[in-house]
Point group: D2
Amino acid sequence: MLHNPVIASQGRKLRLAVIGGGPSSFIGTVHRGAALLEEHYEVVASVLSSDPIKSVQYAKDIGIPRGYASAEALFETEVTLKDKADVIAIMTPNNSHFDLVNRALELGFHVMCEKPLTNKVDEALSLVNAVRKHQRECCIAFAYSGYPMIRQAQAMIQAGELGEIRMVQSEYVQGHLAALTQGELEQSNWHMKPDMVGPSLILGDIGTHCYHLAAFVVGREPSEICADIATLVPDRAADDYTGILMRYANGARGSFVITQSAAGADHGLYLRVFGEKGGIEWHQEQPNQLIVRWLDEPTQVLQKGGKGLHEAAKKVSRIAVGHPEGYREAFANLYTDLAEAIVDRENGKQPRSQKRVFPTIEEGAQGVRFVDAALRSHQQNGSWVAIPAAQDDL
Amino acid sequence: MLHNPVIASQGRKLRLAVIGGGPSSFIGTVHRGAALLEEHYEVVASVLSSDPIKSVQYAKDIGIPRGYASAEALFETEVTLKDKADVIAIMTPNNSHFDLVNRALELGFHVMCEKPLTNKVDEALSLVNAVRKHQRECCIAFAYSGYPMIRQAQAMIQAGELGEIRMVQSEYVQGHLAALTQGELEQSNWHMKPDMVGPSLILGDIGTHCYHLAAFVVGREPSEICADIATLVPDRAADDYTGILMRYANGARGSFVITQSAAGADHGLYLRVFGEKGGIEWHQEQPNQLIVRWLDEPTQVLQKGGKGLHEAAKKVSRIAVGHPEGYREAFANLYTDLAEAIVDRENGKQPRSQKRVFPTIEEGAQGVRFVDAALRSHQQNGSWVAIPAAQDDL
Amino acid sequence: MLHNPVIASQGRKLRLAVIGGGPSSFIGTVHRGAALLEEHYEVVASVLSSDPIKSVQYAKDIGIPRGYASAEALFETEVTLKDKADVIAIMTPNNSHFDLVNRALELGFHVMCEKPLTNKVDEALSLVNAVRKHQRECCIAFAYSGYPMIRQAQAMIQAGELGEIRMVQSEYVQGHLAALTQGELEQSNWHMKPDMVGPSLILGDIGTHCYHLAAFVVGREPSEICADIATLVPDRAADDYTGILMRYANGARGSFVITQSAAGADHGLYLRVFGEKGGIEWHQEQPNQLIVRWLDEPTQVLQKGGKGLHEAAKKVSRIAVGHPEGYREAFANLYTDLAEAIVDRENGKQPRSQKRVFPTIEEGAQGVRFVDAALRSHQQNGSWVAIPAAQDDL
Amino acid sequence: MLHNPVIASQGRKLRLAVIGGGPSSFIGTVHRGAALLEEHYEVVASVLSSDPIKSVQYAKDIGIPRGYASAEALFETEVTLKDKADVIAIMTPNNSHFDLVNRALELGFHVMCEKPLTNKVDEALSLVNAVRKHQRECCIAFAYSGYPMIRQAQAMIQAGELGEIRMVQSEYVQGHLAALTQGELEQSNWHMKPDMVGPSLILGDIGTHCYHLAAFVVGREPSEICADIATLVPDRAADDYTGILMRYANGARGSFVITQSAAGADHGLYLRVFGEKGGIEWHQEQPNQLIVRWLDEPTQVLQKGGKGLHEAAKKVSRIAVGHPEGYREAFANLYTDLAEAIVDRENGKQPRSQKRVFPTIEEGAQGVRFVDAALRSHQQNGSWVAIPAAQDDL
């Protein structure tokens, strides 16, 4: 690679504005660092707090040139600038995504939006239409789909290497809410406030990751699910556990176990898929390995940057085999995907978003439908309920 | 330990008769080797085939002194001998367990019986009563409960080290049936014949292991479950997959994923339990380690024979830390448990069977109830159904 | 396998006598259990203590029919019996091996002898000649060579799958002597007494295991070595650490790190070999896996009993893939090897001992030479010294 | 953390100029991305090729504002600018480091320099003096020392948690040169050219990493070493293997195994240290875990960002536990260390470089001495040779 194709095509780095992710936020650092890491973006503008004075001061503190007092101020001013932002990254509370994404698209910005896309199915479907209408690129920050070995798993299944899919398992078993009381939870941040986080804390926060990861890798979604949503920690109002069983149209079966209240657990995201010829297994805590089991051959351990990988996996790993890449590199890969999609679009090429290379607005909307279906099943004491397919009504 | 307490007490090794487990069988070698390994038993008699001639010849071939033509011949003759067998080990097809265990108990033998105890709940409950009536010791070969680190996990939970239990997960994801067609399956052995294996291949064969292991370690059973039983491999009559969600009376939740059709998987039995203070994780393929996570302390990896173990775990490991012990040692521990229980009983001590040290007849019966409940849920398209508690009707 | 070939050939199990390994000994339980496990042997006689009264009592306590007061009493009596022992297993202090092996061979017994074979090179070479002269089978208890995945590694290298060997690494990093004082060590047992354990505690006790394992798998021995022997724990007379570099005649290089004073380490035996086409890696604490790396293909993890194995590995695993086998099974495999060699010899077939299937007397003698060479290098402050090849003077 | 202390102190990001690391280079991407990731630096100037035209073009291609035709052009121009670079990062062939570092220091720039510092001991010592004379900050890119769990290991040993150190092991066993012929090697890049890479390919390229990592963590260096340097791949002029034994002044022992010709190996850097109370173990391929073994307590697995960590480890991890951080984050930590040291110096605080928080010029010089000592030992057929201590002649 003798040059950076994004810059070669634009003659410059892309300009990123961020809304949300103040200095004490985990995700703000992740988004900005990920955008900077691969030298495709510069961070030019920000709204870093709902407090206007803090928002402006924080931008100064961390070296962002244009610190705005509010999202609306950012939109109104940026749209007038000659060197205006190309992309708006949105990492505000879940209930604000709908308005901000809508506004950004209307004004012609491309978008990077945190998951879940929205808290309501109708809002999500409306955003799918907005993206199509305004012809902008929109990436949903399902960050785990950016890992090289997830791309490898996806490519193997697309190529039929596992044969027909029979079984899908994912877990997201974290521990950081295992000891907090309800009061502490409410103090902690907006993730604990139902009006902001949405109808299910656990499903909105991490359940959509399991759903997206499984769908992204397997290339198909369950046709029906049953869910048991519960609160493991006593005296807590929010839900903090979901067990899910799934059925696929081809007869395959699936399951999810999702919690943030498993005392002592760290991150715990895991995906395993079995097909008729073999299976893949991936753990986010060891993301640079993909375990591949075969019906008739010994188990293999594929390594990021190593031997036997598909192009899709090679493309998103930039440092040599054995040098670990982590969460921010996975995130950076989504930013690169988005940059390439923007450049393709501006050059009149078929937008990559239509090739499902990175998590699209449609995938964001399916995540919202998954939450909705799980809640419906739960309200019917675990009855099996259908999930509409992505194409059903769009 | 300066002597073998079993021999010291009896003045001799215990005498074992085996029914089932012919020369080509996996489990026959396992039972006999496990009984011999710790020098508590000698194998004195056998029925090694349903073919009378083969049964006698096989005994000769593998050096068992008294080879009988049939189970009934064994029972009739042994009961008359001065040096008659003390214990009958039963490893015949599931549908024969009820009669054989019954007969053995009536004649005054102690029993080691393979799981599942029976294929029907009423038969299982009847055997519970028979054991109590005849005052014999009966161990069900839930072999995984013999591993030192499973005993450690049980002891930690009994001692309250994890606090109130909140979440239980077990998987048994094997691959050896992933490629066989129905025809091949039927040829292969009795495990594939519904009349012999019972109402569910997958639940009878390995599902009961998950259920027992979780109950043995956690010390409580779910109050209700929902199940999705399926056939993953097309053109197969038998079921080969079950996904299960569980609710415990204290609000804890649980899940099982059980299959033998995961292409490329090896053994795949796994147990994870989280309580309010931490969690344990154990994998049968690395059985000498127990991962222990803590709410406020770093994760520990306990080692069989190593530091920080309860007496219950130390007792069942006889070789030094770092020297692996495997499946047959776990099995041997059940045989040792049974031997000690027999000696205790003969010496008028409280039988260990009442202390739930090893898998008792009651635990065998609960396994049969679990299969029954899963089938009931499945027949109602996954509705939640209750599992009676062990004490409910016994 | 429809019958036990050892029993089929003899019409009975082989009869084993054990010398050493009293009730409080680790290795006694291991030898007897390993011999019993696969149903090829019965234990008929023993000397279980250097105290004659205890020796007889202990036999009674653990159910061995003929308990002798001394080794000489055992030899004198057994040789006269009609059902005399076939094999003598020797697990006494190292300095007694020479006399006992010699005596057993003279009287026509086959032998299983603990490592190191002797404490002196000339004694070892003399025993090589005695085995040849008396035409008996003699197995040295280098137990790790009995593991299925070690047999697999050996078979792969013999078949040229790794190409020319370039690099060999072994470590045996244990911790059980990390905290004992010299006084405690001396009390503990004969392993700490130089006159009994031999010229180097660390090399005699575990260093010979590294050397044998590497030679057994690789099929070649180093031509020269340099050694740094040290005492890591202050105020201790015995050595407890050795670092070794090795050169092979073909230009390959090797290294060993050996200690029992690594605080907190468990067992720590490890072997890694690289050839021009790939490499193998094996850890005794996870003995059922063999990691295989390839120049141009993804890494594989071979499983005992699993896919892609050589016959030599399949033959020594008797239970299904994913069911762990441990240290006593490895030991049992040596006992089976020895049994088969005895039967072959008695049936006039070429003795397996000449095919280097199990650790022979010649391999025992090379272990003694390794200790001798390391000590010579150490005495010359780490100069490189030659190790004679097995065939050089035999 | 409510603001970025580097920016708060300077009122701006630091300005970085890079020399070396063209578009096809692995290390160029790593340095620039690492500098950008934590938002402390912007990349303002570069020399990206020894070909002046390419150097200028490449800067354009990847969006660096000031692309110079040569290092000298960069130095001459930058020094005159108002917004001149603060730091020069040097990643050119090893034989050019001396001149470039010297020049940068003379002109008042701070420096980030790739390892090895130089190819000659006298040059290295001269640079130590230059850094002291010009009072600049200089960080050597021993990147592995930037990992959080390496900082944790260092902090534990500094705090005496392992007690007196007894044993040190490191390996760097890579495979990427296992199959290249000498001709191919010479074509490949400057790493294979002795005049550029220095007197030992293997020691200059990766051996210094082992040495630095061990010294950085343990806080002491060996007093003498013996080395066996070899060429494992036939028909290759360069060395590609080194085995090393080490003795420390306190009686501890150590060993290194270093190669890039282990067919199939990936990265393979590993460090293990045992003290009287326990030991630590770290593998670069799983960098977010530190295994800690204890004399009297169960083994722990510490996690980056997790429980039980020292401040030094917490400080260099910015994303939550269980979210992996990789090689570029480790590198980014060195850039942050350097930024903080620069700010401290400019604010008149004691420079952190004197607290050995990050790899200093003195540590770079000790790496050069290690290579020199290994070569001296090798030339004397593996005799033990002394390594001067850092303070001996500086």
